[in-house]
């Protein structure tokens, strides 16, 4: 994450991958395309999540709240006005507004509290989705949501009801979102967020308004979650409360952990493997969460860098140890806790 520009080989692989993604509907049947859409949605979801976690040091267990707001928001709009772009934009905007409100309440808190709060807020949104029958349809959810055409009045109207066509909508938007995130994390804002992650105190004393930047990261993550949720709605044609449940919040967490927290591609790679593994597991048993629980435990204890750490050029000191201040010439890691000593 210290900003090595990608090598030529990596760029070529990336180009090949993008090309393959565009060619997918020509070679694959409906189910693989459906799966690919889900992978892309989770990738967008996870990339937003990791801006908060990997880059800003904030572990949120409540991102499904914004995912759900994006999904329900899109649903409500599409049920009223069958315009895909409007639905998507509306879902994202609604999620963004929610992220502003909840962010203001959450980011003033330190990491543990923050994680607990996000879990609570996520489940709060779940309980609203479940109870507010009149608006959300309660536990039956909203049904019959059209896979509305991609329409700009007066300019174009593309029918995307076929799975293969809707795939291209998701693909293009996902690629744009991921590209935007790439630019963001490699910008001064991205650098500043990482500084805040490494040492909140030091960042403050470097003139960075820490709370404001955390809020910005939170809002962006919420927008991405909202986009992911909004993209799901036309795919499934229904929205039900489980999209707001903590188990949905867990998906970007698991995907990112699997792929690698400290790499940009980690959440994307992780999203792919998440679905691959889940697809295999559910063929044998309906109890797939327990297996993912085992994977999470194994990753945290044995392989915290995730899949991408195999490719990492440097072994960054991710396990900050106690500093050995009595040995001046030994490499020492800085303290993980920022304490202002009281003399």
């Amino acid at each position: 994450m210290t900003g090595h520009p990608p090598s030529r080989l990596a760029m070529l692989l990336l180009a090949a991958l993008v090309l393959a993604l565009f060619l997918l509907p020509w070679v694959a049947g409906r189910y693989p395309i459906y799966l690919a859409i889900q992978v892309l949605i989770l990738a967008v979801f996870s990339v937003g999540f990791n801006l908060l976690f990997g880059y800003s040091g904030l572990l949120s267990f409540g991102q499904a709240g914004f995912f759900a707001i994006g999904a329900y928001g899109c649903a409500k709009i599409l049920l009223a006005v069958p315009n895909l772009l409007l639905g998507l934009a509306g879902g994202v905007a609604a999620a963004g507004i929610a992220a502003v409100v909840l962010g203001i309440l959450s980011v003033r808190h330190t990491r543990i509290y923050f994680s607990m709060l996000t879990l609570a807020f996520g489940m709060m949104i779940f309980s609203i989705a479940w109870k507010w029958r009149d608006f959300t349809g309660g536990d039956d959810g909203l049904v019959g949501i059209p896979r509305a055409p991609l329409e700009i009045p007066g300019l174009l109207s593309i029918d995307v009801s076929a799975m293969g066509h809707y795939y291209y909508v998701v693909l293009v938007l996902s690629l744009l979102a991921i590209a935007a995130m790439y630019r963001l994390v490699h910008s001064p804002l991205g650098l500043t967020l990482q500084a805040i992650r490494d040492s909140e105190t030091r960042a403050e004393f470097a003139g960075v308004p820490v709370r404001k930047y955390r809020l910005i990261a939170f809002i962006i993550a919420g927008l991405y979650a909202g986009l992911a949720g909004a993209l799901l709605t036309p795919l499934e044609n229904t929205v039900t409360p489980p999209v707001a449940h903590w188990s949905t919040s867990a998906e970007p967490v698991m995907a990112t952990l699997l792929g690698g927290v400290h790499s940009f591609a980690g959440p994307i790679v992780g999203a792919f493997f998440f679905f691959m593994i889940k697809d295999v597991i559910v063929r044998y048993t309906e109890y797939w969460l327990i297996w993912f629980g085992v994977i999470v435990v194994a990753l945290v204890i044995g392989f915290p860098g995730g899949i991408m750490s195999i490719f990492a050029k440097r072994r960054l000191p991710w396990r900050p140890a106690r500093p050995s201040s009595t040995q001046p010439d030994k490499p020492a890691a800085s303290q993980r806790h920022d304490r202002i000593s009281e003399d």
């Binding site: 490699h186 910008s187 040492s199 003139g207």
Partner: protein, 252 residues
């Protein structure tokens, strides 16, 4: 000499403990001040109050004529204050260059630019490299900061403190834990920056050699109050000061 930093009647309690018990201090610009005193005297608390890590229970702090008593930390940095830490506080996962870039970008108001490519921030990068050159870490610019040796991390810590081009910089025990060679490097840097008249340093130190070789002015604290202040020669002769440093060598 202008009234640069003016601290008037500040007090700070932690529960029953009065860490600072009525301190008034006026520091002019361009005079390197050292704050000394036994453990628990309140030196670091004073820095915390001056830089905004803590707010005083009573009293006021003015910087360049402006009241900053309850101003947020990051705003004080933009007004020209800065500090280094006793416990090392660097950005461990970032490279050495990036560690310096963060305060530089922040000072330039560029820290929040979301889409600008880092390559475009050339001015900031150049300035960061210049600072690295001054503290002698230019060769390590791409190494992760967490992998530096202890002494180099201290230098980096100092670099981060001076990177926002502060007018007033507090250094909290800058030489602690350093080998003699490293200490000489740090002191040389402080002397050079001080002499160039860009930054006024206020140093908290335990090491008397360092204090007497650097300071133009010494403030002695004890039990949350200022016991004495004056030029080094005066302080050296001061009876009360010698008493609290029972047996310790005051002469350099």
């Amino acid at each position: 000499m202008t009234e640069f930093l003016k601290i008037e009647g500040i007090a700070k309690r932690f529960g029953d403990f009065a860490a600072i018990n009525g301190v008034s201090l006026t520091l002019p610009a361009d005079r390197l001040t050292a704050i000394i005193g036994p453990n628990g005297a309140g030196k670091t608390t004073l820095i915390n109050l001056a830089t905004g890590a803590l707010f005083p229970d009573s009293g006021t702090i003015h910087f360049k004529g402006e009241a900053i008593t309850r101003l947020a930390i990051h705003r004080r940095i933009h007004k020209g204050l800065s500090r280094s830490f006793q416990i090392m506080n660097i950005f461990a996962r970032l490279s050495v260059l990036q560690n310096i870039l963060v305060p530089v970008l922040s000072r330039r108001g560029r820290a929040g630019m979301p889409f600008s490519k880092m390559e475009r921030e050339q001015e900031a990068v150049t300035e960061a490299r210049r600072i690295l050159g001054e503290i002698g870490l230019l060769d390590e610019q791409n190494d992760p900061a967490g992998e530096l040796s202890h002494g180099d991390q201290r230098l980096l810590e100092l670099g981060i403190a001076i990177a926002p081009a502060p007018e007033l910089c507090f250094l909290d025990e800058p030489s602690s834990g350093l080998t003699p060679v490293e200490r000489a490097r740090v002191l040389g840097l402080i002397r050079k920056l001080s002499a160039a008249r860009h930054t006024t340093f206020v140093i908290v130190e335990h090491d008397m050699d360092v204090v007497f070789s650097l300071a133009d002015w010494i403030v002695v604290m004890n039990r949350g109050q200022v016991l004495a202040e004056g030029p080094p020669a005066e302080i050296r002769e001061n009876r009360a000061v010698r008493e609290i440093y029972l047996g310790e060598e005051l002469t350099a």
